[in-house]
């Protein structure tokens, strides 16, 4: 039977999955693109999930069922042997879809096992040999850099734009362009231009004195707008510039994995977290703590910590974060999301948090003038 492949909706990095399948030359007609999830997707997922499972599982299951109904019979997603419940997403979803009467193949790639990952990518591809797969992976990681960069740029420029909606328009053009180029050299060349394009096309308020807020937490919730209730846009609308500290580069950044002189981004965070959490505690727990410390050192104003109800790694992080806050003076706002759509409490907390950060910053500055804010000083990659 011909396989019709689908992939998870993953916030802005949905495009990465799309890029992976494109580079592996899976024919267009054999790809089932997931539609933007909504409340009904979540309800559909919850209906067929164990009650105690975390929200990302429910949402991805809902999205899968929608795609299966549209003809997909092969799910390509991330998973594997990680040390949180994400590792049982694939197997559990396979059993559930089986019970529902579908025959679906699951391919779960895992960054802990680079060789298995290569094999999995090869099995998804259009009869590639290992060399072709490697070449495709090269294009993928290069595009991953550009996607991450664009996302960070959006959350920087949107917080200060004068004409509302300008940043989103520019971003859309960039995403479209990124998908139309296939040569690694050209992608790399375009990558260098991306910050310039934003600078030229988006008019920002030169007088703006935005707060800098980092977003830490469970990767799926940090990235998927339905689950984080449009957190980035909310912050941007409140005149704050923000960035997330998670990325799927963990999976794709092969050069950093192989090069002994380059430290992968998440390893930097983990090292910072070591005085508080010594060992890898699954998911992004350790990274959340590490990023808080790193961003304080870089002079950021605060953090928003967001995770799905009952997420074990982030709960571990949450339990040490108050002592981190005490030691280094970095306020962290914890937000737990589940199936609720009540946004008032969410908005109230954000507004109050920002009010508090503004007062705190003014007090710390003690009359000193504001620093000039620019993309170069904001970006720490």
């Amino acid at each position: 039977m011909e396989s019709h492949i689908t992939y998870p909706h993953f916030g802005p990095l949905t495009l990465l999955f799309k890029a992976i399948l494109q580079e592996l030359e899976v024919p267009e007609e054999r790809i089932v693109n997931p539609s933007t999830p909504n409340k009904r997707t979540l309800a559909l997922g919850s209906e067929h999930s164990p009650e105690w499972m975390c929200t990302p599982f429910k949402l991805s299951l809902g999205s899968q069922i929608e795609c299966i109904e549209r003809g997909a019979n092969h799910v390509f997603q991330i998973g594997g042997i990680g040390t949180c419940r994400a590792s049982c997403y694939g197997p559990l979803q396979r059993v559930i879809t089986e019970d529902l009467g579908y025959e679906v193949k699951f391919t779960n790639i895992d960054y802990h096992l680079p060789f298995d990952m290569m094999r999995d990518l090869q099995s998804v591809s259009n009869n590639f040999n290992i060399w072709q797969t490697l070449k495709a992976l090269r294009k993928i990681w290069v595009k991953n850099y550009s996607l991450d960069l664009t996302e960070h740029l959006i959350n920087f420029y949107r917080g200060m734009e004068i004409e509302k909606g300008e940043t989103d328009r520019v971003a859309k053009e960039i995403y479209d362009k990124l998908f139309s180029i296939h040569k690694v050299k050209e992608v790399k060349k375009y990558h260098k231009q991306i910050p310039e394009i934003f600078k030229e096309e988006v008019q920002i308020d030169e007088e703006a004195d935005p707060l800098k807020i980092g977003i830490i937490g469970e990767i799926y919730v940090v990235l998927e707008p339905l689950l984080h209730l449009d957190l980035y846009r909310r912050l941007n609308n409140l005149g704050v510039i923000c960035r997330n500290t998670v990325s799927l580069k963990k999976f794709t950044d092969l050069p950093a994995k192989l090069n002994p002189f380059v430290k992968e981004y998440y390893k930097i965070y983990r090292e910072k977290a070591r005085p508080y959490i010594e060992q890898y505690c699954g998911g992004d727990g350790q990274e959340s703590v590490g990023a808080t410390i790193l961003l304080r050192e870089l002079g950021w104003d605060g953090m928003v910590h967001i995770w799905p109800f009952s997420c074990m790694p982030e709960l571990s992080a949450q339990s040490v974060i108050p002592s981190v806050t005490n030691d280094i003076g970095m306020p962290v706002l914890p937000l737990i999301v589940d199936e609720q759509t009540g946004e008032t409490g969410f908005q109230t907390r954000l507004e109050a948090f920002i009010d508090m950060l503004k007062i705190k910053r003014e007090n710390e500055r003690n009359g000193k003038p504001q620093e000039k804010i620019s993309w170069e000083t904001f970006n720490y990659d």
């Binding site: 539609s35 909606g165 846009r233 806050t325 306020p331 914890p334 409490g345 907390r349 507004e351 003014e362």
Partner: protein
């Protein structure tokens, strides 16, 4: 993030405000001498999940009149009722120079009363508390759906936390149990004080608490003991959930609707003394107007704004608010996969606002 939404992109959400530069400077500086004009009065309206509070202050930040009523899930009606009650006290010709709205229904309230400032309740509360007593180090606030802690150092808020997942450890937890025991919530506190022997009751979840209570009732424990046990459970939940890891020191300002409950006040006091967080009983201060602090806070914010910019004319709709027919309607937008729930507010026949859309397509 570009969602595949074909709606025209406009400003994402409707008017939201945080502190402006001037307000920050003000809160970080010593008290600025304000020009005293005794004939100006400012109204603050705080519509929360459980209660609706209105407060009028004069230009010395003194409370002139206040009204505290229950929201009962009908915010617009309760605002109208509140305004009616105020009108009866101060008279129809009373001049209001500025109006502020706060509380979880602040957006709607802002529209109905015509607010000059719409601000979140946490900021409003800390402002009101600091105005009442500038020495305080901690604000503990337990309201209907929210409970929060604000840590103040040198007169500035430095950290805060709020309840995260559910309404355990808040007023509605007590409300639920009072309902179950068929005791008016007002008598709850006094009953707790009569007991000398608290019964252990689970504080994490109302459902667990309820089964505990049923069990303890059937064993034959007295009502007073169970109520005291409940009060202690709520305080325990608050301190371990909201107050977790926070440096709680005195003087502490205890406010919000639950501060009215003497049983909870007592339990909080004993618990904090036991944990060595405070030394004396007087370290917990319940402000005189604990129930309308949010309204006072937002009235102060309006006053600051208007005193600075005397040219601003208030948007206050007027004392005829109770006579205006306000309506709200909800529908789902089918324009894109987001399926936003849109709320439409009508004043008479006229649509005065819509919100709820992610893309801003429906904003008026």
């Amino acid at each position: 993030m570009t969602e595949n939404c074909d709606c025209p992109k406009k400003e994402g959400m409707t008017s939201i405000e945080t502190l402006s530069k001037e307000e920050i400077l003000e809160s970080t500086q010593e008290e600025i001498a304000l020009e005293v004009s005794s004939d100006k009065y400012y109204l603050g309206v705080d519509v929360g999940s459980i209660s609706t509070n209105l407060a009028i202050i004069d230009s010395q930040k003194n409370l002139v009149e206040s009204v505290y009523i229950r929201t009962e899930g009908r915010p617009i009606q309760s605002i109208q009722q509140g305004i009616t009650l105020l009108k009866e006290i101060v008279g129809e010709n009373f001049q209001i120079s500025g109006v502020g709205a706060t509380g979880s229904a602040r957006q709607l309230t802002g529209l109905v009363v015509g607010a000059d400032v719409v601000r979140n309740e946490i900021t409003a509360h800390s402002l009101a508390s600091l105005n009442e007593n500038s020495e305080i180090q901690t604000i503990i606030e337990i309201g209907g759906q929210d409970s929060k802690i604000i840590i103040i150092r040198n007169g500035l808020p430095v950290d805060f936390a709020m309840n995260t997942v559910c309404a355990a450890g808040t007023g509605s937890f007590l409300d639920q149990q009072a309902n179950r025991l068929e005791i008016p919530i007002e008598e709850f506190g006094d009953l707790a004080l009569k007991s000398n022997n608290a019964v252990a009751i689970a504080g994490r979840c109302t459902v667990f608490a309820e089964s505990d209570m049923i069990h303890k009732q059937q064993l034959g424990h007295s009502e007073e003991d169970i109520i005291r046990g409940l009060s202690e459970a709520l305080v325990r939940n608050y301190l371990n959930n909201v107050g977790k890891g926070k440096e709680i020191t005195g003087p502490i300002m205890f406010q919000g609707g639950v501060a009215a409950n003497v049983g909870i006040r007592d339990a909080l006091r004993r618990s904090l003394i036991k944990q060595n967080k405070i030394k004396h009983e007087d370290d917990i201060i319940v402000p005189e107007h604990y129930d309308v602090m949010g309204a006072i806070g937002v009235a102060i914010l309006v006053m600051n704004k208007i005193v600075k910019n005397p040219e601003i004319k208030t948007k206050f709709v007027g004392w005829q608010i109770p006579d205006i027919n306000y309506q709200t309607k909800g529908f789902e937008c089918k324009g894109c996969p987001n399926i936003c729930e849109i709320i439409e507010v009508l004043m008479g026949e006229k649509v005065i606002a819509r919100w709820g859309s992610k893309c801003g397509k429906w904003d008026v």
